[in-house]
Symmetry: C2
Subunit: 231 residues, 2 copies
DNA sequence: CAATCCAAAATTGTTAGCAATTTATCTGTA
DNA sequence: TACAGATAAATTGCTAACAATTTTGGATTG
């Protein structure tokens, strides 16, 4: 596969991936190949390859054979596992980031906080989501472990999709105050406090989700059984 | 893509992946599409898709545009990052596995140890590698987090490739004694000891690798400069 | 003999068109 | 109206042939 094709596929992956992460494509949305070809101005083969990748690698797309792709609807179990895995990785990242602190990194962190605040000031919802995700990526990059960074990137996208699916009130995912407190602890190189704040931060995000036992399907069933007559 | 095609691609991925992990395909080996088609009795499209996946998702294959695929040769930095990430995940898994212990899980662990011992008794090198990897997977499955399990699966394959590349004396990767000690600590539900043993275990594997600063290429250069005359 | 160039072979990359399947629409019947 | 069946439309899945690129091997030349 040529570099050109490869980067074209990557372009589509990122375009679709961020649209899903930023809640422009809600869970369950059908992703028809022909439509994507039209909208993205792309080759059908590239679109298909990108969808395959979003399904098998990032798991934010579901592909049903002969019936096409749609934005995934992760189960409660999967949602729990993603959060729990993410906490594991985020903790390690905070720890390693503190170890790698230097003037340049400190600057990067503060600048990222500014970006987030900016997006909040301007009320740009999608930008807020993107930048609050980027905050975690910046920490990962400061930690300096490319493998952890990549694993986290995938989990952030999945987390975003989970929030879109399970968070009723359209809150933003990360509170800027918590990010601020985290940065304070990291800059002070206070490991214990920083990891504890990260735990609490993840816990708070999870707390606002509807991850109690009942699966989503029950809603539909209940609606059909007790629903008012149509028409 | 049909289920049939999907599982065919998966079959090829696993076939190649395990061949790489079990050191039957050493780093640098060229993977020519036509050859793979012949050997695996597969469709060329499926082979290509599998190679793409092994490259972009598992990172055990490198694809150079217009020049084909070969078994990857991870850099020292990548090797370090993989190990460091793996330690993070393994620690978490040990912790969660202890939490989820029950009669069935205890049995599974002991049975896995038997398999490893068996392979060692019979001196089956590739089976030893496979089963020592499976040991870590069993722990992950006991931990019960599918996301962590999948992340670990990828890291185990990468670790195996790294060992093939950087371990001069062809040792087996995991010592059975260390696995035995780990199981003891897990069964005793001694968190502190278990995580510490896992750390040590990973550390020992890493210790036998040649991950000092000089890159691999230097070997070739040196050989060419100081080599004896041919013929 | 080394270096350069050219043609042939090997290998990977791309595409269009058709096949197969699913979904939607229409029609007739009770 | 409700339902079943048939037909058409939409959509995905597959392949074979062709295009592009790189590698190989040898011929030519200084």
């Amino acid at each position: 596969m040529s570099t050109r094709a490869q980067s074209e596929i990557q372009r589509i992956v990122e375009r679709l991936g961020s649209a899903i992460a930023e809640h422009r494509l809600p869970p369950g949305t059908r992703l028809v190949e022909a439509k994507l070809v039209e909208v993205l101005g792309a080759n059908r083969n590239h679109v298909r390859a990108a969808l395959q990748k979003l399904a098998s690698e990032y798991k934010v797309v579901s592909i049903i054979p002969n019936r096409g792709a749609c934005v995934a609807q992760p189960t409660v179990k999967e949602a729990r596992d993603v959060f729990s895995a993410r906490i594991v990785i985020e903790r390690a990242i905070v720890d390693q980031a503190i170890e790698n602190l230097n003037a340049k990194n400190r600057h990067r962190l503060l600048k990222q906080l500014e970006k987030e605040n900016d997006a909040i000031q301007r009320g740009e919802r999608q930008e807020m989501i993107r930048e609050s995700g980027n905050f975690h990526r910046v920490l990962a990059q400061i930690a300096g472990n490319d493998v952890l960074d990549e694993l986290l990137a995938g989990l952030i996208t999945r987390t975003s999709l989970i929030i879109a699916l399970y968070q009723e009130t359209p809150n933003v995912q990360c509170s800027i105050e918590e990010h601020q407190a985290l940065v304070d602890a990291v800059l002070a190189q206070d490991r214990a406090r920083a990891t504890q704040l990260m735990d609490a931060h993840m816990g708070n995000i999870q707390r606002y989700l509807l991850l109690d036992e009942r699966p989503k399907e029950v809603d539909l069933q209940a609606a059909l059984q007790e629903g008012e007559a149509l028409g």
